[in-house]
Amino acid sequence: MALVQIDNVSKIYQTGEMQVKALQDVTLSIDEASFVTFVGPSGSGKTTMLNLIGCLDKPTKGKVFVDKKQVDAFDRRQRAAFRGSALGFIFQAFNLFPVLTTYENVEYPLVMIKNESASERNGMVSKVLESVGMLNQKDKFPDQLSGGQKQRVAVARALVTQPKLVLADEPTANLDKKSAVNVIRLMRSMRDEFRTTFIFSTHDPGVMEEAEVVHTLEDGRLVRKK
């Protein structure tokens, strides 16, 4: 079975009396250790797709399986626990905690979610910070880092719990072209190093080229797979 299996999934948002069909009857699967991107214009359903795979939202119809578990059937607490144990997230606006240093931001999931011991935490954080090339910046706060550096820290935070799957919603949207390509290449090298599946969404054709599998969404429908 694939790492991610989407079966006939639809997602409809109710806005007042208006219904917005964000996803319509989408079926797809994503293999383990793959490097996948969702592309498409704004409102095509990319973020909704990532939210469903990331257990942040539930489909109106259909089933979502991640790591052989039917995550759409999880309750609130189970979804939180699953996100903490099996998933990593990278956000468009980096979403680092401003009161924590680089090191503490990366350490956060191990303290607040995994309850790892101090010595284990130190080893894991140092290793992943070294992998993303940010170990020398470990005592800096987010407002002392550039956009590209912040996203590297975000990648490290997503990887530190050794998740099976990392989801990134437009991770390069707030970066210049060079930094964007660097971050995507970093993500790809992390996939190679840790065998972690990466799924991200993007508008950027330059970033798209770095993906191994490209799913194109239009009006909530999956129109192409490359």
Binding site: L56, A80, G84, F97, P98, V99
Partner: protein, 417 residues
């Protein structure tokens, strides 16, 4: 846990001015309560001490019905010798009673042989009285600067300052006391003035002291009788419990009609100051309620703002798998830390304030008592109580915002603008 508090403190420091202002407000509230409790409490304790230790005693036993007609100083409601012996036995056997003293209260006419005026007198057994009211001599002036070993001997009288001035009587002078006994017959005796007493809280400052044996002679009591028995207990803070015990013990003594023969009252029932003491207590409680409101509103406001400003951050925490309970804990730690910092500051400044007030020695007058020294103090238990209240209210005020944060759906919170 330490990490949660570390993050909470850093989050508080993110908004330095807001945290400082809120903390200052709570600190001021706490300071206000500590200083008020210290000042009002010491005033209350001092006045109660003055009343119970120099004049009234902590409790009094009378024949049933005496207190309701106390203003007329009735001489027919006396405790006879047999009754006194019975009560004496009961009080001696009670382990909580430290001392007791018999008294006769009477009204008389006092004359310096040219002028006459009325006077109220406490007839006491000096040896016993000093044990019940150890400060009885504190406001008395004698011929020498020292208080004599025996306060009063038979044939001696201590008269109120106002009467001494009005009748131009000096220590060592002679006076005549004329009094009616309970049957209406009149008797008079000569006395030597051995002391002058400053007014305490007696009616119009006309309350003097004489020996109980003289009062029994003056009132032509064939057998020794007393009007009241004043009591002092070992632990004043157990007054209520001892009073209840004594009420039960006294209930067993019935008169010929089978009804209770004696009554007992604490100082609170006998002195009008108890109403002032109650008002002080009410004002102290009011100050505490104001402080609780300050803490509640300010922390609730700060924490609600904190949650609204950090919706995306909460969404991030939740998205990466932080359990709702942990998110709630993080915000509770913030509220508690704010309360804790303010409590520490309030306690330190409050104790310092009380220390400074003690250095500058505040003196005041109350009624006809002048030059009373106020020594504000606050007990450790009071500090603990006030601090615990602030901390509990801090947690309570944070509960709603913290719960709201923990219930946020990550998908909505992340999309918050």
């Amino acid at each position: 846990m330490i990490r949660i508090f570390k993050i909470a403190l850093r989050n508080l420091m993110r908004y330095k001015r807001r945290t400082l202002l809120t903390s200052l407000l709570i600190t001021l509230g706490l300071l206000m309560v500590i200083l008020f409790s210290g000042l009002a409490g010491s005033f209350r304790e001092m006045m109660i001490g003055q009343i119970t230790d120099s004049n009234l005693a902590q409790m009094q036993i009378h024949k049933k019905g005496y207190v309701s007609s106390m203003d007329t100083s009735p001489l027919n409601l006396t405790i006879n010798q047999k009754g006194y012996k019975t009560l004496e036995k009961m009080l001696t056997e009670n382990p909580d009673v430290e001392a007791y003293a018999p008294r006769i209260k009477l009204g008389a006419m006092l004359s310096n042989f040219t002028e006459t005026t009325n006077v109220r007198l406490n007839a006491i057994d000096p040896d016993k009285e000093i044990k019940v009211c150890p400060d009885v001599s504190e406001r008395m002036k004698f011929s020498g600067s020292e208080v004599p070993d025996i306060l009063l001997r038979p044939g001696e009288i201590i008269i109120p300052e106002k009467l001494a001035a009005g009748l131009k009587i000096k220590i060592g002078g002679s006076v005549v006391l004329v009094a009616n006994n309970k049957d209406g017959s009149v008797n008079g005796l000569n006395f030597t003035v051995v002391g002058i007493i400053e007014s305490i809280l007696g009616p119009q400052g006309k309350e003097g002291y004489m020996h109980i044996k003289d009062a029994q002679s003056l009132l032509r009591m064939e057998k020794p009788e007393v009007i009241e028995i004043a009591l002092r207990i070992k632990k004043f803070d157990k007054l209520g419990d001892v009073y209840t015990d004594l009420v039960s013990a006294l209930a067993e003594f019935k008169n010929k009609k089978g009804k209770p023969g004696f009554e007992i009252h604490t100082w609170e029932k006998l002195s009008p100051f108890s109403n002032i003491a109650k008002m002080i207590d009410i004002m102290t409680v009011s100050m505490k309620i104001i402080m609780i409101a300050i803490v509640l509103i300010s922390i609730l406001n700060v924490m609600m703002m904190s949650v609204y400003e950090r919706v995306r951050e909460i969404g991030t925490m939740s998205a990466i798998g932080t359990a709702p309970g942990r998110i709630m804990g993080l915000f509770l730690a913030e509220g508690l830390s704010l309360g804790l910092i303010s409590t520490l500051a309030g306690n330190i400044i409050g104790i310092l304030g009380i220390y400074i007030l003690n250095i500058y020695k505040i003196r005041y007058s109350f009624g006809r008592m002048d030059n009373l020294l106020l020594s504000p103090t606050i007990s450790f238990s009071e500090l603990v109580w006030v601090s615990a209240t602030v901390l509990l209210v801090s947690i309570f005020a944070t509960l709603q915002p913290a719960y709201k944060a923990s219930r946020m759906e990550p998908v909505d919170a992340l999309g918050h603008v």
